[in-house]
């Protein structure tokens, strides 16, 4: 509950310090997803991040996508799940599926 671990507080602080910041938000979950819809991960242009959108399973992939979102300036929707090849690669091993919206903080 402290500002330090609060992704939205961190996002504001980073952006005001002049860093490019992307915000990733879990918008849908199916099955046994580790983090509920509404969970946030914030990422800066160098791949630093705070918060979580899963139990640590897909954060690495989301960070990579977020850096691309910061380059293009366009939001994108990501989906991770057991039916998806990428999901196996990044390891959402809990058997759930999640959809994550990634947007730049302007």
């Amino acid at each position: 509950m402290t500002e330090l671990n609060d992704p939205l507080g961190v996002a504001e602080t980073w952006r005001k310090a002049g860093r490019p910041v992307a915000l990733a938000t879990v918008v849908e979950t199916w099955g046994s997803a580790p983090r509920p819809a509404g969970s946030h991960l914030v990422i800066d242009g160098e791949g630093n991040f705070e918060g979580s959108v899963s139990g640590g399973c897909v954060e690495g992939a989301v960070v990579g996508e977020a850096i691309e979102v910061l380059e293009t300036g366009e939001p994108r929707m990501l989906e991770f799940g057991v039916a998806d090849e990428t999901a196996w690669e990044v390891g959402l091993s809990c058997g759930g599926t999640i959809r994550v919206y990634v947007e730049p903080l302007k």
């Binding site: 509950m1 504001e12 938000t25």
Partner: protein, 229 residues
């Protein structure tokens, strides 16, 4: 998201105001919805449910799908009495995700040394509670046994829409307490909402065990009223 919108969202959260963030998943358009503002339109019932449950949802509109994220204030527990039970209850409450605030005008009790990790206010409840702001995401455990300290806290809580009120003391002690509060103008219905004797009946004996019984009762009240996710 625009930085200005994030600032407004963070300001509302810092001020313990419940807000929703609606994002158009195709358009990317975003807006804040404040609980205090009356809502109409096709999604009014969805917004109301989000404010109640604190859960985020996806909804369909004529302009495409939207995602609605809910940001409710974190629950907190005001504890009157910097007593032995409170020394166990405060860290347990914090561990369970409730911000504990200890209020006790007796400066010998309300010390940082006795409560190293909690917010401690060495003031009378009638002064401290209005400053804290008792809202529906706040609970009160009155633990001093002393009417001079507990009664004003109970009066402030009874005058609010806080999610939980509990008071330590035997049935006999509580009977006298109810009589005093009735004399202050509180209705029988309202007073029946006070959890007393405080805590779930688990046969708790030591201060720490009583703290467990109280915390379990607080969590039950929190979840059953839907005050917080």
């Amino acid at each position: 998201m625009d930085l200005a919108l994030l600032e407004a969202l963070n300001a509302a959260r810092a001020n313990r105001k419940a807000v929703l963030l609606e994002t158009g998943l195709e358009s990317g358009a975003q807006r804040l919805i404040r609980e205090a503002e009356p809502q109409d339109g096709p999604l009014a019932a969805v917004y109301a449910e989000c404010f109640r449950s604190g859960k985020a949802v996806r909804a369909e509109t004529e302009n495409g799908p939207v995602f609605i994220a809910a940001y409710l204030p974190p629950p907190r527990l005001i504890i009157t009495g910097a007593v032995h039970i409170s020394q166990a209850l405060a860290p347990m409450a914090a561990f369970a995700g409730l911000d504990p605030i200890i209020v006790d005008p007796r400066t010998g009790f309300a010390t940082e040394e006795r409560f190293p990790k909690s917010r401690v206010i060495a003031e009378w409840p009638e002064d401290a509670l209005p400053d804290i702001g008792v809202d529906r995401y706040t609970g009160l455990a009155a633990l001093t046994h002393d009417p001079k300290i507990d009664d004003p806290a109970l009066q402030a809580a009874l005058s609010s829409d806080c999610f939980y009120i509990g008071a330590l003391g035997s049935r006999k002690t509580h009977g006298k307490r109810v009589d005093r509060l009735k004399a202050q103008g509180f209705s029988e219905d309202k007073l029946a909402g006070i959890h007393a004797p405080i805590g779930l009946a688990i046969g708790a004996a030591s201060p720490s065990e009583i703290a467990v019984a109280i915390l379990a009762e607080v969590v039950a009240a929190l979840r059953q009223t839907g005050a917080q996710r």
